[in-house]
Symmetry: C2
Subunit: 155 residues, 2 copies
DNA sequence: CCGTATCCATTCCGATACTG
DNA sequence: CAGTATCGGAATGGATACGG
């Protein structure tokens, strides 16, 4: 999980978060948390991974401040796992992943889960990236700027 | 890499793509590809992983149609790795990851790489998710709708 | 310079058993 | 139901050596 090469010090906003959510299961857990799942057993049933693994992943997500444990909502003497503000910040990332997945991993006819606007019940639009002046920008309209000209890439 | 639990048949757009880019290194490779890197050695120097691992990851990305190999640009008898349309479709996902990372993994004063609009040179805005009518919607304004009421969650 | 093949240590994951 | 502990098989990742 935490790889030997620590990207903690990388100046790239892409590299650093990968310690927290770079592994396979964590994003699925977070997705389920967005779906309203809170209990250990709920996650386990939904994702279908071994309990010890789930335990480790949950602990990791809590350690990274993405989930938080709260005492209980019903009377159970157990814990529930809820998204923190940092965790909720992953919303757009999940949307981006979902939209990419839907575009390239599903046949046109194939039924799939859909993210809809509660108010209208209609599917949301595609994510938009805009410049300061409001223009929608794509890959070729942007570039990456490094803070100091001394740095090559990541190191 | 491809886990025993195949999510290939999941109806969730989040789960399926994880076979392709769910691992730690792939996203960094794709990020570098967006940065213009094309050669084996460039990726290796930038990311700093063992050659056999890089080889496997590149092969996996090619197999998933995210990268493609092209003969050469200079005279070298080797290959170069370029993003396919599917790969370029990951742009917004990288942006989402980057913005989340910048928000929660960097101190305010800490310098970091920045994505800027080429035309103005100014940083891009935060990603926006809009409903059909143009309203910007967040987590609480949306919900997930499943294609048939028969399905519980993923299986 | 590009990539494959091999070896070895570490980690991951699933199954199971166990405690509260 | 909610976890922890342990065990064994599988896969990962790094280093290195090797061939085109």
């Amino acid at each position: 999980m935490a790889k030997r090469v620590s990207h903690k010090r990388s100046m790239c906003g892409v590299a650093r978060p990968l310690d927290a959510i770079g592994d396979w299961w964590s994003l699925l857990i977070v997705r389920d948390a967005f779906d309203g799942l809170r209990r250990f057993g709920e996650f386990q049933k939904s994702i279908g991974l071994a309990k010890n693994i789930l335990s480790a992943r949950l602990r990791n997500l809590v350690a990274h401040g993405i989930l938080d444990t709260v005492p209980a909502s019903d009377g159970s003497p157990y814990q529930e796992y809820v998204l923190t503000a940092k965790g909720r910040g992953l919303f757009l990332l999940l949307v981006a992943l979902r939209q990419w997945g839907e575009e390239f991993f599903f046949e046109g006819t194939e039924p799939h889960v859909e993210l809809v606007d509660k108010e209208s019940g209609l599917p949301v639009r595609r994510l938009e990236l805009r410049a300061q002046d409001g223009r929608i920008v794509g890959v070729d309209d942007t570039e990456v700027r490094r803070p100091t000209p001394a740095e090559q890439h990541d190191p």
